[in-house]
């Protein structure tokens, strides 16, 4: 069980770094398993052990969490909090793509995950999506005209008198009112 987790972790870590470099056109990124909190703090340990027993195995914090370290091309490694809105979306997307690639779910729905991205980043985001689309059926909700061009089928949703309806659309129609 632990070995399988470690193998998965390594695989995701490798793909995370790769997708990060694609999205940021350079730089570096890695995930790190935090060591579980043990050691000199006797009192804290007893509390931790009680906590470990009380929590279900999956949520067992004593196993340690996953830290994310990124270095945007040209910049120094800094706390994730200092990243811009778009940069955060890209880092999170790189991690998501790595998870999707390592263990492809049958489908994946993304609701406006491109909202914070500028045009050139949307293009790179969509290119990765295209490669993953062979293994996973994507449903993408978007306002972005570039993202729309990457779909095989476009459904337009409209509301009349409080009722939603769906219409199959052609790309050109959809892009008219897109951003």
């Amino acid at each position: 069980m632990k070995r399988r987790f470690d193998e998965t972790f390594q695989a995701v870590n490798e793909r995370f770094r790769q997708h990060f470099v694609t999205l940021f056109q350079g730089g570096n990124a890695r995930l790190e398993m935090q060591q579980p909190k043990r050691g000199a703090k006797g009192e804290a340990d007893d509390e931790d052990e009680e906590l470990a027993e009380a929590l279900p195995a999956k949520k067992n914090n004593i196993a340690g969490g996953v830290e994310i370290f990124v270095q945007i091309p040209g910049k120094k490694v800094q706390d994730l909090s200092l990243l811009s809105g778009g940069e955060r979306s890209l880092v999170s997307s790189a991690l998501l793509f790595a998870l999707l690639e390592t263990n492809p779910p049958p489908f994946c729905l993304l609701d406006e995950v491109d909202a914070a991205l500028d045009e050139s980043n949307v293009v790179r985001f969509c290119e990765i999506l295209l490669t993953l689309a062979h293994q996973t059926q994507f449903i993408v909700i978007t306002h972005n005209r570039v993202t729309m061009t990457h779909a095989n089928v476009i459904y337009g949703v409209s509301m009349t008198d409080s009722v939603s309806r769906i219409l199959s659309m052609k790309l050109a129609e959809a892009q008219v009112s897109a951003r």
Binding site: R4, F5, E7, T8, F9, V12, K58, K59, N61, G65, V66, E67, I68, R88, S89, V91, S92, L95, L96, L99, L100, T102, N103, P105, P106, F107, C108, L109, L110, D111, E112, V113, A115, A116, A133, Q137, F138, I139, V140, I141, T142, T147, M148, H150, A151, N152, V153, I154, Y155, G156, V157, S158, M159, D161, S162, V163, S164, R165, I166, A174
Partner: protein, 165 residues
């Protein structure tokens, strides 16, 4: 090809019988603010077994039933059916097409059906988990939540990996 079709009737703003046919490739859903796009995402979460109203942006369980509007009365039931393609036999079923249906009534009652037969919620959840389809983790990324993996604590992130393992 896994998801074949999504049928909605009475779910949130989808008062009329609505069908969404999926392509083996990528499907885009577009439209103006408030038209119902995220409601489709909610319906997928819901038919896959989501029990938390908060995850569905609601407060009480009847919030997902069409509330009525412009000269249109509210409905008494919400029903969503997901049709899965099973030609490659990725689902534990002898059928080439498997449908999963969920219904909710204003009374508070709920129905769960597999291939039109009523089952218990746990049977439906069992089928889905055997097929490795979840209503949680990273198969549905909600609006405004793309960077949730960054905001959550390191320990919470761990569960994403456990789902993938």
């Amino acid at each position: 090809m896994y998801l074949k079709r999504l049928n909605l009737h009475g779910f949130k703003s989808f008062a009329a019988r609505t069908a969404l046919d999926f392509s083996p490739g990528t499907t885009a859903i577009v439209g103006p603010n408030g038209s119902g796009k995220s409601n489709i995402a909610d319906s997928l979460r819901w038919v896959l077994g989501e029990q938390s109203m908060r995850q569905l942006r609601g407060k009480k369980s009847e919030d997902i039933i069409f509330a009525g509007g412009h000269g249109r009365a509210q409905l008494g039931m919400a029903e969503v059916t997901l049709t899965l393609d099973n030609a490659s036999n990725w689902l534990p079923s002898e059928f080439t097409e498997v449908t999963v249906t969920r219904r909710a009534f204003r009374s508070g009652d709920s129905d769960y059906l597999i291939n039109g037969t009523k089952v218990r919620l746990k049977d439906m959840l069992n089928l889905l988990s055997q097929a490795r389809i979840g209503h949680d983790s990273y198969t549905i990324i909600g609006q405004g939540l793309v960077d949730q993996a960054l905001s959550s604590r390191a320990e919470e992130r761990r569960s994403l990996f456990e789902d993938a393992a």
